[in-house]
């Protein structure tokens, strides 16, 4: 009995504290008050965002009875592997977990996330529809609160563009023409590279073109990796690689870092978080970069995709799901927390209110005062995209198939790869027993 009541009382008290954060700590000394008020709840939180402990300090200092400890993770993939292992083992999972949007269906399907629709369902209007859709998977269950998003943007070396008499590309045709002109003028320079190891970026580019690789149709899944929109994107990048006007080497290698820094890579189709990466990889080129909206397929209907972004979820093993839900609600929607997220943890908050927290451009783009208005515009144009329960299967198949295609430098190999990925993804789902339409 007492075991069942204690958490409820604790959470009620916590809720009361939550409403009166300002005075709660001074009014109630820990020794006085009801016994339930002394019930301290300790939560663990897995995250890989930098400085997250400083954001959490903002919560801990005002919520003495719900203390959160950040446990720094290596990154999205290792954290998911660890969490799934803990779920299988029956213990060892944290209370709160940073979860990339594309991993949420995988985690839900492994029964790793708790439903927090009671605590956080009312937050729907505070987030862009695409982000909210990622945490509800289109249903009524809420598997997390969106934290950050990564709308795609285009980054380029303005000095190189000026030298070649070029403007920021408005369409993908412009981008192709600019890539050709730059490479012709200087055979060592490329406007970009096709990276076979970044399936997330390619998915974002397909998203921009209108693809949604998975979908739910009644009681069955649909998989559309080889659809017309994705074919268009694959053919486009395959064409550029075949022509040799862009490079075919993967991103995030020492080679690529050096190429960004020495001016061999003079553009990057990336997301709103790119300044942080460029600051680390291309520090010698500071002040020469500019951000622009994504090149478009159809300028009349501007669209963009996402690369990265994550939600904060409560795990199914948490013994204090209510307190955990309260904490993540605060962290991702409270104005003070959003300011900490943007300013200290350097993430681009998903919440609609965040625009007010983002006034000064990132340090690497300090001259570009409209940086965050471009980002906000991109965020609004993000197309809906549904992830499936086996994103990792599709992404690893992407790596292998497009790795071969990029190495062969043949546009036909790019478009053929999509059929391979589609088949690997559907076969895996059918083998596991998922109902897959078509």
């Amino acid at each position: 009995m007492s075991k069942k009541i204690a958490p409820v009382l604790a959470s009620l008290t916590a809720a009361a504290l939550f409403l009166t954060t300002a005075c709660s700590s001074s009014d109630d000394s820990p020794d006085s008050g009801s016994t339930a008020g002394n019930e301290k709840v300790a939560l663990t939180y897995w995250s890989w965002a930098p400085n997250m402990d400083k954001v959490v300090e903002g919560w801990n200092s005002t919520h003495p009875n719900i203390q959160v400890t950040v446990n720094k993770q290596d990154g999205g993939d290792p954290a998911v592997t660890k969490l799934l292992t803990a779920i299988k083992a029956g213990s060892g999972a944290p209370d709160v977990m940073q979860a990339e949007y594309q991993k949420i269906p995988t985690l839900v399907s492994a029964d790793a996330l708790a439903d927090i629709s009671k605590e956080a369902g009312s937050l729907k209007d505070k987030f862009p529809a695409a982000a909210w859709n990622s945490v509800t998977l289109g249903g009524d269950t809420v598997y997390g609160v969106p934290q950050d998003s990564g709308p795609l943007m285009f980054f380029y070396r303005s000095d190189v563009f000026e030298k070649n008499g070029l403007q920021a590309p408005k369409t993908w045709d412009d981008y192709a023409a600019a890539a050709e002109k730059i490479h012709k003028a200087n055979a060592k320079q490329y406007l970009g590279t096709f990276s076979a190891s970044d399936a997330g970026l390619f998915a974002g580019l397909a998203q921009q073109a209108g693809a949604s690789w998975w979908g739910v149709n009644g009681d069955s899944w649909t998989v559309n990796i080889n659809d017309a929109a994705t074919q268009k994107v694959a053919a486009y990048w395959g064409g550029l690689v075949e022509k040799g006007t862009i490079d075919n080497k993967p991103m995030y290698t020492p080679e690529w870092n050096a190429a960004l820094n020495d001016g061999s890579q003079v553009g990057w189709v990336s997301a709103v978080w790119a300044p942080g990466v460029l600051e680390g990889s291309a520090k010698d080129t500071k002040g020469k970069w500019k951000a622009a909206p994504m090149p478009q397929w159809d300028t009349a209907a501007p669209a963009t995709g996402n690369w990265g972004g994550s939600a904060t979820s409560v795990t199914s093993q948490s013994k204090h799901p209510k307190e955990a839900a309260e904490f993540i609600t605060w962290m991702n929607s409270d104005p003070a927390a959003l300011k900490l997220l943007a300013g200290t943890a350097n993430v681009y908050p998903a919440a609609n209110d965040a625009t007010s927290a983002l006034t000064t451009p990132p340090a690497f783009f300090s001259d570009q005062s409209d940086f965050y208005s471009i980002a906000a515009e991109a965020g609004k144009q993000t197309k809906p995209f549904t992830y499936g329960p086996n994103v990792n299967v599709a992404y690893s198949a992407f790596n292998d198939a497009f790795g071969k295609a990029a190495e062969s430098k043949k546009a036909a190999a790019f478009t053929e790869s999509l059929a391979t990925i589609q088949k690997a993804t559907v076969d895996d789902m059918k083998n596991s027993g998922f109902t897959v339409a078509g």
Binding site: D111, S197, T253, N392
Partner: protein, 321 residues
């Protein structure tokens, strides 16, 4: 009375006989116990568990969302058939055969050559021990670190060698491109493994009495003939042992390619059989087919190494007889 006298007699007889038998039966087990216990806990049990897992699978119902939508069921041999018919499986097997054909002869050849050279130079112990340590040192570098080091040397824009060659107007080949990548990975393994094998062979050489060489020299044998006719036949058991070790290491190659993977387009997730196991278990989250592939690799390793030992058995163990 008669009864009481005969009884003690029979008991003393059996008591006298028993301790000896008991001692012979129990003591060896007591000595073996720690080994057997550790073997059972950390080798046999996991193997049995992997075998069990390889016969199971998770069955999802419907959309697979929400709790209770997953159940573990018996899978029969379907994990095995799925693993073996995976289009990536055979290429990865062929690839490590090619990899083994490069690594094993080159590494053991180099190790033998260096051991013989060091052994021939017995007159300058200080120089010889420095050389020995220098050759052995790469073995002390973890494979992941070694792969990262070599990875930097392979990438044209960060490699000092490519830079230097470029200064002389020579364009270095792209070592991580599809035509070179097998050699690039093999090179890391050879660099790391030669020293260890050299030490094994060298130690065997050192135990050869010098009187053998003296008599050979009196008979007019050259240093080359001594090496070929005396030293190599004598260290044959060590060569066999290093060969079996290298064979097993080849079948299990993993750290080097998985570390170099993100640097290039040419190393896939299923580049070697063990990488496929890793992908299935940790990328695809399917430990069941990973277990099936592991069992197949373990059986293949067992057959190959014991088959080879049986083939050369008499030669390999002449030293112990």
């Amino acid at each position: 009375m008669a009864l009481t006298t005969t009884l003690p007699r029979s008991t003393t007889a059996s008591v006298a006989a028993r301790p000896a038998r008991k001692g012979r039966g129990g003591v060896p087990y007591a000595f073996l116990a720690p080994g057997l216990l550790l073997f059972t806990l950390f080798l046999a049990a996991p193997i049995v568990y992997a075998g069990y897992l390889s016969l199971r699978k998770v069955k999802v119902s419907g959309l697979g969302l929400g709790s209770k939508s997953r159940t573990e069921v018996w899978a029969g041999l379907s994990n095995y058939s799925r693993s073996m018919t995976d289009p990536d499986w055979l290429p990865s097997v062929y690839r490590i055969i090619g990899y083994g054909l490069i690594v094993v002869p080159v590494m053991l050849g180099l190790a033998l050559l260096m051991a013989l050279l060091l052994d021939a130079n017995r007159t300058r112990p200080a120089l010889s021990s420095f050389a020995r340590i220098a050759i052995f040192l790469p073995y002390a570098v973890p494979a992941v670190v070694a792969s990262l080091l070599w990875g930097f040397l392979y990438l044209p824009r960060v490699s000092p060698f490519v830079y230097a060659l470029d200064k002389f107007g020579i364009t270095a080949p792209e070592l991580l491109s599809s035509s070179w990548v097998l050699y690039a990975v093999a090179n890391v393994a050879i660099w790391g493994g030669t020293g260890f094998n050299m030490i094994v062979i060298y130690t065997a050489l050192k135990s050869v009495p010098t009187s053998l060489y003296e008599s050979a020299r009196i008979d007019g044998a050259s240093e080359l003939a001594i090496a070929w006719r005396i030293k190599i036949p004598i260290v044959m058991p060590s060569l066999v042992m290093t060969f079996v070790f290298s064979l097993i290491a080849t079948l299990q190659v993993f750290a080097e390619p998985i570390t170099l993977k993100p640097l290039s387009n040419t190393i896939s997730f299923t580049w070697t059989p063990l990488m496929k196991v890793y992908r299935d278990a940790f990328v695809r989250n399917d430990i069941y087919s990973a277990a099936a592939t592991s069992v197949v690799i373990a059986v293949a390793t067992f057959i190959l190494s014991f088959g080879f030992l049986k083939l050369v058995g008499r030669r390999a163990f002449t030293q112990e007889d």
